[in-house]
């Protein structure tokens, strides 16, 4: 008798339990279209990259990329640096990307700080310049820079590429660092000064450490923009070839598979750094939010 009673009691629970996954499944089906859309977009963006990675392993007898699968090989990884002019172009690109990234970050960070922390004459104009710099078409920027260099009689080459890349990177650095700066409570800087830190010490001990995730993002963005810039660079490069310019030249006669391998390595490196930065900044953001929580109280008096 009692056993029957228990089973009866169990029934609604069991029914509930059965209902729960059904409900979840229904919700899943509702978002089904969204899921399909999501994966289509993923494929759309990722397929070319995957293609590049796979064909970096393809046996290509003519030492030119072919899209018929000839079999797996690590040949191109072994002979990655065999084409000396391709290697030279890659090194040039890396040098310019690192240098222009560092210089643009070093110049853009104080600029972002000035634009969001201080009121000065011409602040609106600076804003406009930064915006224009981002919005201007590369062709226009490239052409105007070329005429500028010719006018000043500056020989085109590594130097002009570097100057050009620094110039277009600064705007992106300013935007990125400013976004981070908006999340740094000004009372932290006041607290540092209150405790005897001069503005200089305040910057190095408080502002910069808190800005660091933004500064790193800005550098990585600069690096990425620099390493794949083609249009602007093609105006001001003179005889110097960067990685994209070399490939562009090679396309007419066929791309050596090493290009795919280098592309793969650059891509993997970029992804790793981006992931590391996201993880680091997320960890720091959690801290900042926790500390800044009481700031939500409106300021008095």
């Amino acid at each position: 008798m009692s056993a029957v009673a228990t089973r009866a009691e169990d029934r609604p629970i069991a029914a509930e339990r059965a209902a729960a996954p059904r409900k979840r499944r229904r919700r899943g089906r509702k978002g089904g279209l969204l899921t399909v859309y999501f994966w289509l977009m993923m494929i759309y963006t990722v397929v070319p990259i995957v293609f590049m990675i796979i064909y970096g392993f393809n046996r290509a007898p003519a030492e030119r990329v072919t899209f018929a699968w000839q079999g797996f090989t690590l040949e191109w990884y072994k002979h990655l640096f065999d084409l000396s002019d391709l290697t030279a172009a890659l090194i040039t690109s890396l040098e310019i990307a690192v240098l222009s990234g560092l210089i643009a970050t070093a110049l853009g960070t104080p600029m972002a700080l000035a634009m969001s922390r201080y009121r000065y004459r011409g602040r609106g104009a600076t804003d406009l310049v930064v915006f224009t710099d981002i919005a201007a078409p590369s062709v226009v920027v490239g052409a105007s820079l070329l005429s500028f260099f010719i006018l000043l009689n500056i020989p085109r080459g590594f130097g002009t590429i570097l100057i050009t890349h620094v110039a277009f990177n600064i705007a992106f650095v300013v935007v990125t660092v400013r976004a981070r700066l908006a999340g740094v409570d000004t009372s932290l800087e006041e607290a540092a000064q209150d405790l005897g830190a001069t503005p200089w010490v305040t910057f190095w001990r408080v502002t910069l450490p808190l800005l660091m995730p933004g500064v790193i993002s800005a550098f990585l963005l600069s690096f990425a923009l620099s390493i794949d810039d083609f249009i602007i660079t093609s105006f001001v490069n003179g005889q110097t070839l960067t990685f994209p310019l070399w490939i562009w030249g090679a396309v007419k006669v066929g791309i050596p598979p090493q290009v795919f391998v280098m592309g793969t390595l650059i891509f993997v490196g970029g992804v790793l750094i981006a992931v590391a930065n996201v993880v680091a900044s997320r960890r720091q953001r959690v801290q900042t939010i926790a500390v800044n929580a009481p700031t939500r109280v409106p300021r008095e008096g």
Binding site: A191, Q193, D194, L195, V206, P294
Partner: protein, 377 residues
């Protein structure tokens, strides 16, 4: 040497004025805070108390006037060259540094030897009962603990004056009550001048040696909590610090040490001359709810006592006492609080009652119409 010691920790504000884009935040403020004093700036939001504090800390430059610390004019000095420290409303703990480094920040700027820094940080953390939390990050602490780190970080520098900007504002009531006593204990222990900004009148009264009530950028009254509570100088102060019953009246006679005021509704009240703060003929007479005794209207009034009659509207039992809402002469709402000492006479809503109080418990302020609308927070 002696004279220098006595001014150590003395704060003087002389004709201080601050205008933000044509909005006057602080208007010709003169204030003296004695060394070692726990002094509060009390007022509703927007009264200029935080701006005043920020001018002392060096975060805002006064439009006019001077700030003197221990007799030295510091008006033009940046914050890092003033011997004051601030506990910020948001605590402003450095999120990238642990508790030890937060507290040591000021000492490191003074380039003190390592072992002295270690010793002083340990002492400061001990003072706020946070020993053992050295390696925690601020995000790993509760609000109350963060608040105490902020306090230790400021106190460790042994400033001449400690500025506190609503430091307990973000804490919940229970922790706030405990921190009030804690702050008072710490202040007595270290003997530093505390300048405390708050909008909470109870908080200000609990902790302060003296307080200044501010309104619209001006100081309405300065005094110790008891004086300000018992002898409010203005109607605003009377309303901001605790509950007050205010009755409009007209001054009739000012002889023999007692001022006679004819109240609305006909009765005549006497107020000792020294409790009279009014200047004109029309004044407001105030009595605190706990100073009034209720009695049936036919009972004789004790000799010399003031009284008005009213109609009892509501009686509320609140455990420690009874609270009565009474409709006074001319419809003025009055409030009476009676301590629950077991001798309560029964009054129920609808009864006619007589409110009786000692003339010594009466205060008089100028009648400022409309001031009562300034809702104290």
């Amino acid at each position: 040497m002696d004279a220098a010691d006595r001014t150590e920790g003395h704060v003087s504000l002389r004709g201080l004025r601050k205008v933000f884009a044509e909005v006057v935040a602080v208007e010709s403020l003169d204030l003296d805070v004695a060394p070692g004093e726990f002094f509060s700036l009390l007022g509703p939001s927007g009264c200029g108390k935080t701006t005043t504090l920020r001018m002392i800390g060096g975060f805002e430059e006064p439009t006019e006037g001077r700030v003197l610390l221990s007799g030295r004019d510091v008006t033009g000095l940046p914050p890092y060259r003033r011997d004051v420290n601030t506990v910020f409303q948001s605590y402003a703990l450095f999120p990238h540094l642990d508790v030890f480094e937060n507290v040591a920040f000021g000492l490191r700027r003074k380039k003190l030897p390592k072992d002295e820094i270690k010793r002083r940080v340990a002492d400061a953390l001990d003072l706020v009962a946070l020993s053992g939390y050295e390696r925690r990050k601020p995000s790993q602490l509760s609000g109350g603990q963060q608040q105490r780190v902020a306090l230790a970080r400021a106190l460790v520098n042994s400033p001449q004056v400690l500025l506190l900007d609503e430091p307990l504002g973000a804490l919940d009531l229970k922790i706030r009550k405990r921190m009030q006593l804690e702050l008072k204990r710490i202040q007595e222990e270290v003997g530093i001048t505390f300048l405390y900004v708050t909008h909470d009148q109870e908080e200000a009264m609990t902790m302060s040696d003296r307080l200044a009530v501010m309104r619209d950028g001006r100081v309405e009254q300065v005094g110790d909590p008891e004086t300000v509570y018992e002898h409010p100088a203005t109607e605003f102060v009377a309303g901001f610090l605790g509950a007050s019953n205010l009755l409009t009246g007209e001054v009739k006679d000012r002889s023999s040490g007692l001022v006679a005021v004819a109240l609305e509704g006909g009765s005549l009240a006497a107020i000792p001359e020294h409790r009279f703060n009014g200047t004109g003929a029309r004044v407001k007479l105030g009595v605190r709810p706990e100073k009034i005794t209720l009695q049936p209207p036919d009972d004789p009034v004790p000799p010399g006592a003031n009284h008005v009659d009213g109609l009892l509207r509501m009686a509320t039992f609140i455990g420690v006492g009874h609270q009565y809402e009474i409709e006074g002469p001319g419809g003025t709402p009055l409030r009476v609080y009676a301590q629950n000492v077991g001798t309560r006479r029964d009054f129920s809503p609808g009864d006619r009652v007589r409110l009786v109080w000692d003339p010594e418990h009466t205060f008089v302020v100028n009648d400022e119409e409309g001031v009562g609308d300034d809702e104290p927070r």
